[in-house]
Symmetry: D2
Subunit: 378 residues, 4 copies
């Protein structure tokens, strides 16, 4: 068995959501071992939360990085699972101290922070994986491989959406912690639904098509009175090479939980994938009957098999896709430490550059909307 | 049994598509009897086509209107099923001659023609039904009634789309008759996919929500080289009252046959309806489990029952919805002739004013796109 | 245009259900003209019901057959849409008098009656169409053609079911007319759900597979206290040639309206079809991705195109399938009168022999269940 | 954090399937730590496989039980993931030695073995969890809770099926390991599809309904020439209390991967759940619109929330459900060691008695089929 990589976590203490997801994801394939954490912004709660998990606790990320760097058995990688405004500082500090980094999305609070992280990753040469987790699904990898192999021909239209409904009322006024920071520009950034959901949709569209969003035209709206960030974002997209797209993110669409859905239409066929039923991929070759491709059924690309744990018909879900990013990160980290090239199939993880593009995408959309709807370069 | 209304048809001869649909729709509920026709632009073919159907044949619509007006047993209503550029003239002539008119969509070739028809209908007092046929589906009527009854609260977001794939290649160059006129601005008007499909989507959105599209921002594209009208249209919508929307029409989206789909999200819940499975309506009350409302199941609004012929679980389809417009038209015509108010449930048919708004919608979208994407009032 | 066939109807007066369906079906393709009827068992209501429809009314079927036979412009065919116990007598009388017959299912009240009708049809040489209407769907015809062409290889397993929920309570005690006769053995026959729904399922299975049910093993149940016929029937099936099957019919399965569904599994692939979404047929070739075949999309068998009226993506439904049987019957009747062979594509209509097998199927199932569950030959 | 339970594994070495699943499931919630194994029947491979995993390796289960029992830091529980014929001996030995046991299904090779295990569990008082993993899904727990709460009323009909297609050809002749033992009565037991899939279906039906299958009537078939066990099983079921059911298991149904599906119909409503889309549960209250209940959406029973890890709309799958059994087992084991009653929500895991009923179910079905189809008590 490959040696487990020791990792530490920033954020994810008592009452948090995504930290627990990262830990389950890291555990699933047994390539990581959590050894330390600065799990909360409050030092006392940080220490207590670490005790809950039976790991070394630190009052803050700076102490954690210093402490772990000093131990021979210290963490080798750092996972950052804090709200958006607390991504840049620990990520940069960890990279500078020689740690590999796995960071939740969106990359940062601002474009400037994101640019700085790109520079830092390049300079330090450390592994950096951004957890746009949907890219870990086998059928998303399959879709990307089909496009890359030219099976669809030139792409014309990309329709992507990510509606939710949980902010249909002013949940942030009830003390709900998630709603609180996600609707607070100081902690979430310029985008509300756009930053939280739109960046996932943007990444997924680029990840599958291999195309880059070149300019956007946005209409952002806060339907819930008094909410300072958008809770509904409707965008037109133009991709390099001429493809056109639409992107919709919303937190006020009743009946939608996490209804991320991507459809790609090209000269020779189409693809449709839905996050809530992720084990299927609809392939619609032009002029032929639609085919329901399924995880581990029939002839798929190696990239799909690479991301699969269990046989066909037994559904994998959100955690497995998330785990895939950790599993791929483990190989990248191992390869870096061993001074060899990683398995290419493990290199599809979202990058710091993807994260920068995501931040620029949000900034461009906000600018477009504020300008009353004008095409704005990303 | 109510007396059958005698009607004549303009267009719909040999090789046509929608004429046969109108005739089946008119026949289904036995409220109409086809007696005459000017079924083709070529006089000889017009006469032959009428002979095929065993009805009185005329070489052109003018002759038909004159001939039928002169007979005591002549047609009382006229159905117009020609390409778009041949709607205005026969519709106007028929109205002026005292006929009630059922006319295929979009209303006309230009906004000016549409305005003239509005004026003519108002002046003559004749019944005018525009066959935006999807409005005849029971579950569409149900959706409209739910919104009107306030069951959803204030509407925030309207997502509507109508993708097809049949023009993914340059079919018009093969001599295919439908592709020929639908991609020819002289016969179809300014809009390609927008005129053919987008007007349906626009009408459906307004019909269900009761809201009016106030301004549009469009990105139109002709993906197939050399096609003079759009084959893909992506629009942002703003509705009077503040709701926002997106509209997508396409003829180049492989795997989509007639995938008209409407989703409405409001303060208290959402609705989703899909043309290809029209007997269901998804209702998603905020915070509750989604419900699959179905034709003739449980407690629906009278407007849904009114548009239903057969019991629950036995699917109705395209022809039944189309027939509903004819059945409602029959009541309107009978009521007009009898000098009484029609049954209000029969008054939901698309109007000439709807048709004018559709034409203005297309014109605004084309203008917006040509202007590089600017909000344009409808 | 082909001359319309004049037909008369037995049953289908005020308050009836299936009579109206037959009339719409007959009208849709304009090959039939209703001229007369004995529309109710009560003579006065029979006459009034005919007046409602503007046709010649008769007090009973004997008078109707005599009257119409005597007129040069009399009916040529007779449609029988009465409860089961009133199929045999009018069908026999009509056949003997030289009429072609279209008869609702199941064929008769008893096996003996059914045998007599088989003999009568053979002797008189008249056209006889039994309205197992689901066999009129294009994708059912496609399924049958695929099996016949050997595309699936040898069939192994046939799963067919037809659950409903409308008799979950004792509706027959409320005066509901349909519930009344359908739960009365004197009018419905031995089978409750089995006669009403099971015969449809049995026919569909045989129609698509081309196989014959050779023996059955049944467990029939009346879940609603005091109901004298089954409201739930569960059967094992053995087909000639070795295929095995299961058949379930129920009237007490909440949430099921008319959920007829057939699945066929064979050496080289499978098929699945569902009545409530009849425009699709799932084809699952072994080892390949499932394909969603759709009406009028891609390369289908001529038998599917033959049964199609409108283009792909515009759903056809229950009435269109029913109409197909009438349209096919019209060709059979015309051919008989013209002394020529009918178009083979029009010869897939359910026959009197199918009806006899259906009656024997019900009788065998009832006998099996009464015997405590024993394999019983059909 | 709760202390991790140290466990050892029997079976699951190189080339095995279900062992890896158990390990991922045990790891997901971090309540177990794998410390030792007798991972293969071949001693050398057993040792090598343990080395692969970095755990203590033993040549056989007897050595493992002896070795681990002797260590103060030895395993506390044993997971058994061998083929069916190797369940009884290690399970019994482990129980006798004081270990808690988690055992794959079906319980044993024969009814006699199963009875012996029931006796052993009762005598030793050890925790015993049988991994009928589908019972770990939140929406299955929800369904069970709804039935238990009387929300459906008295159950009438239970339809359950588990079709696959992977043995449509004679895969066992190709050397495929899984196919080899699963079609070999000496290793799999009397049932082929029935033992592998039918026992899951049987357990799921009993688990959700709380009813017991009292007698069965079966028709078993081996469609693939020369296969000594059934590859298709069709059964009628009678439940204590009067409910009726059908059960179908198959390995020769092309297009079905693991299409386990349960439908329950009762006086006041119905439920439907499908393994391949496990995050939804269809609830069909009689006379109302069907509701799509979803994991973590709206008001569900505590039993559902108990089995949930992540928020609504992010799908959980096969591994999460499997993990639930391990998580529940951990609480049961902890409670036993601490001499307290376990959390009742953790007590829904399948029991050794469930396993015995499953073995009796298979035996009764085989006897019924051999007797030519007779009702046989379970």
């Amino acid at each position: 068995m490959a040696r487990r990589i020791r990792y530490a976590m920033v954020g994810g203490g008592r009452g948090a959501f995504i930290g627990g997801v990262h830990r389950m994801a890291a555990r699933l394939d047994d390539r990581f071992e959590l050894v330390a954490g600065a799990l909360a912004s409050d030092p006392a709660r940080a220490i207590e939360s670490a005790a809950d998990l039976g790991i070394r606790g630190y009052p803050d990320f700076a102490a954690m990085i210093a402490g772990e760097a000093a131990r021979p058995d210290g963490a080798e990688a750092v996972s950052i699972v804090t709200p958006n405004h607390m991504h840049h500082a620990p990520a940069k500090a960890a990279l500078e101290a020689g740690f590999d980094v796995i960071c939740d999305k969106p990359l940062a609070l601002t474009v400037a922070e994101a640019e700085d992280l790109v520079e830092t990753v390049r300079r330090t040469g450390r592994v950096f994986v951004l957890t746009h987790n949907y890219s870990g699904h086998p059928m998303v990898r399959q879709a990307r491989a089909m496009v890359a192999a030219g099976e669809l021909g030139a792409i014309r239209v990309v329709q992507v959406e990510y509606p939710q409904d949980w902010l249909s009322t002013k949940l942030e006024d009830t003390g709900q912690k998630q709603a609180g920071w996600r609707t607070d520009p100081a902690r979430a950034g310029l985008g509300g639904s756009l930053g939280d959901l739109g960046t996932h949709a943007h990444h997924l569209a680029e990840f599958v098509t291999g195309l880059r969003v070149e300019s956007v035209l946005a209409d952002l709206q806060s339907f819930v009175e008094g909410r300072p960030v958008d809770d509904n974002a409707q965008l037109l997209l133009r991709f390099a090479g001429g493809a056109r797209g639409m992107l919709w993110s919303s937190q006020v669409a009743p009946g939608n939980e996490n209804a991320l859905r991507l459809r790609v239409y090209a000269e020779k066929g189409g693809l449709a994938w839905s996050q809530e039923h992720p084990n299927q991929l609809l392939h619609t070759p032009l002029g032929e009957a639609p085919r329901v491709l399924a995880r581990a059924v029939g002839a798929l690309h190696p990239a799909a098999g690479h991301a699969t744990r269990i046989p066909a018909g037994h559904p994998e879900g959100y955690l497995e896709a998330f785990a895939q990013l950790y599993r791929d990160a483990a190989e990248q980290i191992a390869a870096r430490r061993e001074g060899r090239a990683p398995d290419p199939l493990c290199c599809a993880t979202p990058t710091v550059e993807d994260g920068l593009r995501g931040m620029r995408f949000v900034a461009a959309a906000v600018a477009s909307s504020r300008a009353g709807g004008a095409w704005t370069p990303v």
